[in-house]
Symmetry: C2
Subunit: 202 residues, 2 copies
């Protein structure tokens, strides 16, 4: 398994460099478990699939805490066949893929309900791509059922799904959608934008 | 065929609202051919697949012209099976999908070479997802061959490909990759970030 994300942070502020640099400290607890590489467009984080969304949540909540309009964009991937297995990308914990779909939907909802609240309201928009063969349409429908029960489902849009709520359950919902549905060893990609402090938030 | 994009513009400036509002005028020439809907996270443009990347190029070059660090992020899609056919989404012009792959690679390179220059240097990062069945690996390899011959190929990264150069040939390369490879009626999604004026550009 190879899992990770290309992550970018966009603070809509003249002080974007300062906001990014001070938010990056939020990744410190994850550094021992991740490989992290930065260039001018994005930061690559490679590591355990279960920790990708918690790491992005902490990074984004730290940046948004400054109060300026801020967006995190990420391309998240697991099981990409072109990438070598990497021992730091541990298998999905508590995968439950052997259990019936209905039970997994209920477990995913329970994980979201148990997610710690951050006090930061965000809007998230994402597209989930089950790639290659081995994914069943039942899994996709199960994921949609889960999203609608997540408590943070906002609406379906063209090409993507929109969530809204506290960053805790929103990132937990994204993580559950990414980890718990589709073939456990299959290739899944997720295209994500998360926004906070928008002056036009509806 | 249904084709379009969810597009967001992120100017890293206290005046992000002013920069976005003044850049949006660049979409005026496309408005007769597009359906456009905006919310707090992104703007949906639905219309002819061939005009999606020219419209995004003009929007981005207008925003980046102010000199501040600016990013455009988009989720681009054609042939999504969940969307109804829409008469404003005309079939791909000059598709050539009946011609041999090598000839199509050469035609795509020629289109990029003929693209008008904008004078604006950008970095672009994208992932191309051929979804569902009907796409052949030969088409993917042909697309990779084209990208390497495009003149704006920078490097392969984990989960994505990076381009760098004038916005004209960069957006033309993205458009060719999106339109000319994979099944002509198949579902293709493209996850894109384009960056200009980055203080850390390499």
């Amino acid at each position: 398994m190879f899992s990770g994300a290309q992550v970018s942070l966009y603070p809509m502020s003249d002080d974007f460099v300062g906001i990014i640099l001070s938010a990056i400290g939020a990744l410190d607890p994850y550094r021992p478990n991740f490989r992290i590489e930065t260039d001018d467009v994005s930061t690559l984080i490679v590591g355990p699939p279960d920790q990708l969304f918690p790491a992005m949540r902490d990074l984004f909540v730290a940046a948004a805490g400054r109060g300026v309009h801020c967006v995190l964009a990420a391309t998240v991937s697991r099981g990409c066949p072109g990438e070598p297995d990497d021992p730091i990308c541990t298998p999905i914990a508590d995968s439950r893929h052997d259990r019936p779909l209905e039970e997994r939907v209920a477990a995913a909802v329970a994980h979201v309900e148990a997610a710690p609240r951050t006090g930061r309201i965000v809007a998230a928009q994402f597209s989930l791509y089950p790639l290659g063969s081995g994914h069943h349409m039942d899994e996709i429908y199960g994921c949609i059922e889960f999203l609608k029960k997540s408590g943070v489902f906002d609406r379906s849009k063209n090409f993507c799904t929109k969530l809204r709520g506290d960053a805790g359950p929103v990132f937990a919902t994204l993580s559950e959608a990414f980890l718990r549905f589709g073939a456990p060893q299959g290739h899944v990609a997720l295209d994500l934008k998360v926004s906070a402090n928008s002056p036009t938030a509806l």
